[in-house]
Subunit: 545 residues, 2 copies
């Protein structure tokens, strides 16, 4: 049986656009000889639809689209995702569902059994789990249709979360092959993990698995595609590309004879392409064509600009250098050199005079008080006002350039360098930013070497460097990983051999700066735990262990 994969990029809430995309992909796969076509999870609504499902017209219109698709298909079935009503009087109002659509056959519906409600997922907010799930008969075969989490086994989850076992149930009922409609967001290492899990499952149960994943950026989430076809021995039959749409028909009988190994990019390559797709799709899906970026001459803004150029094209990216008297000539030169290498326009708008004028507002009020971060913070806030004026006037989306390490400890100014519509690298720790910069420069110097080698500095007062305030970045990133991603307490981190004073300083800074992150621009998630929708911390709280 030849399986058509519609690895498409849906838009959340764009029911008509998604309809067209599914319909075209279906016909294309059928023309390529598919016997059956599958799409990602919730393809009709886009994923995740979030609270849109509560809108009075949302689910009814998505059901109309489902009927329209049913009218479009021929004898070759299409299996796609939609939001169904839960007809029972009790429980959540909706289902996360798949539909088997085939001419002259009533729509058959399959509901998701395992509803992720952790990290970035909120499915128990909306959906009632399936009570049972049955294989679908087609061409004399029993086909098990599953939706994303349904096939994730406990080893790959935060813990054994579910009592149900939809895959086991389908196999007990004689399922001979498994389809999975997925919307599995990218993080570093995830594509390889998925292959490992699916391959293990196929081998364990002696069944082929056809796994169709979403691609595209949706706010903080980037879906990488990387759809997989795996044979009953756990071997790879076919792998669809990452970070791009593709319609592919997989013929297990032919392809099975060719031994294949999965191909996964390096972490830096994956990271770059994930961020680039996240930027491109956020702008496109929000209706923006171009971006503006503040260029400091430092590595964060340089990496952000390189990603933006890849995503949008050099002509659609505007750099702006906004020096004060604390800015070194070297920094301005680095910003200019970067712009030349990227081929983007770079404006120079000094803010020194504005800085002096705003400071003069406080001549009386602050008189006799020592200078402190107050005066430092005025500078990034004036840069934000400057960049936002350019954004407002020319409809360029402002991209934020802060990294995860500084966002974690609050080494950033709210309404200043944190301002922007999308935070491109806010889930990338500083040490990984350096790796990314070297990867960007792998063939030729795009990011000026000086930007990479000089000590990082905010340049908000004379002779400042990040390391005046922060622990060395490699140490900071290790401890942040344990504290933020692993949720280890201070004592548990110290027990691993880290200096208690440093750990306590980091704990305090991370917790105190929750209020800044509450107002941060949405950031692209690329690690297993990002700040943003997947980490929900109270602001007014006093836990310090």
């Amino acid at each position: 049986m030849k399986i058509g994969f519609a690895q498409i990029n849906t838009v959340v809430g764009d029911l008509n656009g998604n309809y067209e995309k599914i319909r075209r992909a279906y016909h294309q796969a059928v023309e390529q000889g598919a016997d059956l076509v599958i799409t990602p999870e919730l393809a009709i609504t886009g994923y995740p639809p979030q609270d849109l499902v509560f809108k009075s017209r949302f689910v009814p219109l998505n059901l109309e689209i489902l009927d329209r698709l049913h009218g479009d298909v021929g004898a070759i079935p299409l299996v796609t995702g939609f939001v169904d009503y839960n007809p029972a009087p009790t429980g959540r109002h909706f289902r996360n569902s798949a539909a088997w659509l085939q001419r002259n056959r009533p729509i058959e519906k399959i509901h998701k059994s395992l509803l992720p409600t952790y990290d970035v997922f909120d499915e128990a907010r909306y959906f009632e789990p399936a009570e049972e799930t049955k294989p679908i008969e087609f061409n004399g075969k029993k086909i098990g249709v599953t939706i994303c989490e349904d096939i994730w086994t406990k080893e790959y989850l935060p813990r054994r979360l579910y009592a149900q076992d939809p895959l086991g149930s389908l196999i007990n009922q004689g399922a001979e092959l498994i389809l999975n409609l997925s919307a599995s967001p990218f993080n570093i290492g995830k594509p390889g993990l998925r292959f490992e899990m699916l391959s293990g499952l196929a081998r364990k149960h002696g069944l082929p698995i056809f796994y169709c994943n979403l691609i595209g950026g949706n706010d903080q989430l980037v879906f990488d595609g990387n759809s997989l076809a795996i044979d009953a021995a756990g071997k790879l039959i076919a792998q669809l590309p990452s970070f791009t749409e593709q319609i592919t028909v997989v013929n297990p009988d032919i392809q099975n004879s060719i031994p294949q190994t999965p191909e996964f990019a390096t972490d830096s390559a994956d990271l770059f392409h994930a961020l680039s797709l996240g930027v491109r799709d956020y702008l496109e899906k929000c209706g923006f064509k171009s971006a503006v970026i503040g260029l400091s001459g430092g590595i964060d803004s340089a990496v952000t600009a390189a990603i933006a150029v890849d995503a949008l094209g050099a002509a659609q990216v505007l750099g702006v250098a906004m020096p004060t008297r604390f800015s070194s000539q070297g920094s301005i030169d680095d910003a200019v050199a970067l712009s030349e290498k990227l081929g983007i326009r770079c404006l120079q708008i000094p803010i020194q005079k504005s800085f002096e004028t705003v400071r003069s507002q406080f001549a009386g009020l602050f008189s006799g008080l020592p200078e402190d971060t107050t005066e430092e913070n005025i500078q990034p806030r004036l840069r934000a006002a400057t960049l936002m004026a350019i954004s407002n006037k020319f409809s360029h989306l402002l991209l934020t350039t802060g990294n995860k390490s500084e966002l974690a400890v609050g080494y950033c100014t709210i309404y200043g360098d944190m301002a922007g519509g999308l935070a491109v690298i806010s889930d990338v720790p500083k040490t990984k930013i350096y790796e990314l910069a070297r990867w960007i420069n792998r063939d030729r110097e795009i990011i000026p070497i000086n930007t990479i080698t000089k000590p990082p500095s905010a340049e908000l007062k004379p002779d400042q460097t990040d390391q005046d305030t922060l622990p060395p970045y490699d140490l900071l990133d290790e401890i942040l990983h344990l504290y933020v991603e692993e949720n280890l307490g201070v004592r548990d981190i110290v027990n691993k051999g880290y200096d208690e004073k440093t750990v306590r300083w980091i704990q305090r800074r991370v917790d105190l700066n929750e209020y800044k992150r509450e107002q941060a621009a949405p950031g692209l998630k690329v690690t297993s735990r990002a700040f943003g929708i997947g980490r929900r911390m109270p602001i007014a709280q006093r836990f310090v262990e």
Copy 2:
């Protein structure tokens, strides 16, 4: 049996502080003659602990506190709330639990059965529901211990969400009275609703109910207390005060003989006290002592300042007027008059010169282009930079003054008037702001009459009024209520008789401005649906129906 109510104000994550508070309240109630003492839900951890429960030391330390409390109590039982582990290998890792603590008796644990996972609640993210719940025997009586949602019946929920019926099960097992440990957030009308529900339940089942609710502000949520004791006929035995801590012992035998009616304040009074408590607790729990507010002379900042003065005292509130040449003398006079009436200090820091200097940065870049909102937005952004400098220098928390109507349609400037640590009135529609202002002025003029009667204006260009851009506020608020709180689609609102063009304009503005709200200051929730954690909308989305 005399029931001691410990209606206390816990702090999220402050395990030791909450321990002291519970212990003291217990002893106080025992001294007042209680036979049994109850606290709010999750009193040991504070509510809601959110992702703090995932921290490696959080649940273990809360269990240590539970043991410590067990060691403190005497023969009079204490029933309090904590986070337990789920010992089963499958399911969520934790339980939302209550403990029956009594000397010479092992700790008895009761787990919450109904876990709200809608609006602001995320309990299915953390907790596994109870499989069963049993009455506890005490002094020859069977006592049913329930936790918050466990007693909420389907008529008062978004829909019949749960298959379980913990209250029915307890009654079937012979429960003779019901205790409920609650953390039920305030919204307008909720206190009366709770009485209606509890009274109906008591009457239906012929059982007394003792309902102990949390008081205090925790980020976006304000808990109002209003704990209730209700007899088996559904009549009120006792009502604890709203918005304040109180330890009260209720003797049903005596108090039952006195017919009582519940006393609920007017909407405006409740609203004012809820917001005041929200401000006071946010500052106190975050470690701030004082606040700064930008005073425009308009009604929003006037109402916000009046609330802040009630919450913090006049000496702890600083007003700042920041006129440009578009500010009328009347507005400055109104800001000064308000400050005098409130007894707060008012600084005048004109920003006209800064505005001109920042504008001059763009003399070349914007040359030949018409003026638009770009130039308007520079003004609130300079005001934000000014207020944040004062906040940074003097550690005053900046309070944001925007109302719900303008936040809904984006009639506000991101990084400008939206800047601040807490948005005091961001869940209050403009029409209710006027009601609140009149209530504040009920005894004497605090908010200048001119502030209430003049047409609202942002004063960002000559002769501007809100109604140049927005529909009349009474119409806007009606449609916003249907669109945002009721989730009605455009067609459904038009079918109620509203003008389609106006409805479409509002729908478009609300949806387009999701990106601003994503970065808004946390706002105090006082309606059934606020922007913030209880409304989760995608930004990059295209649903327009």
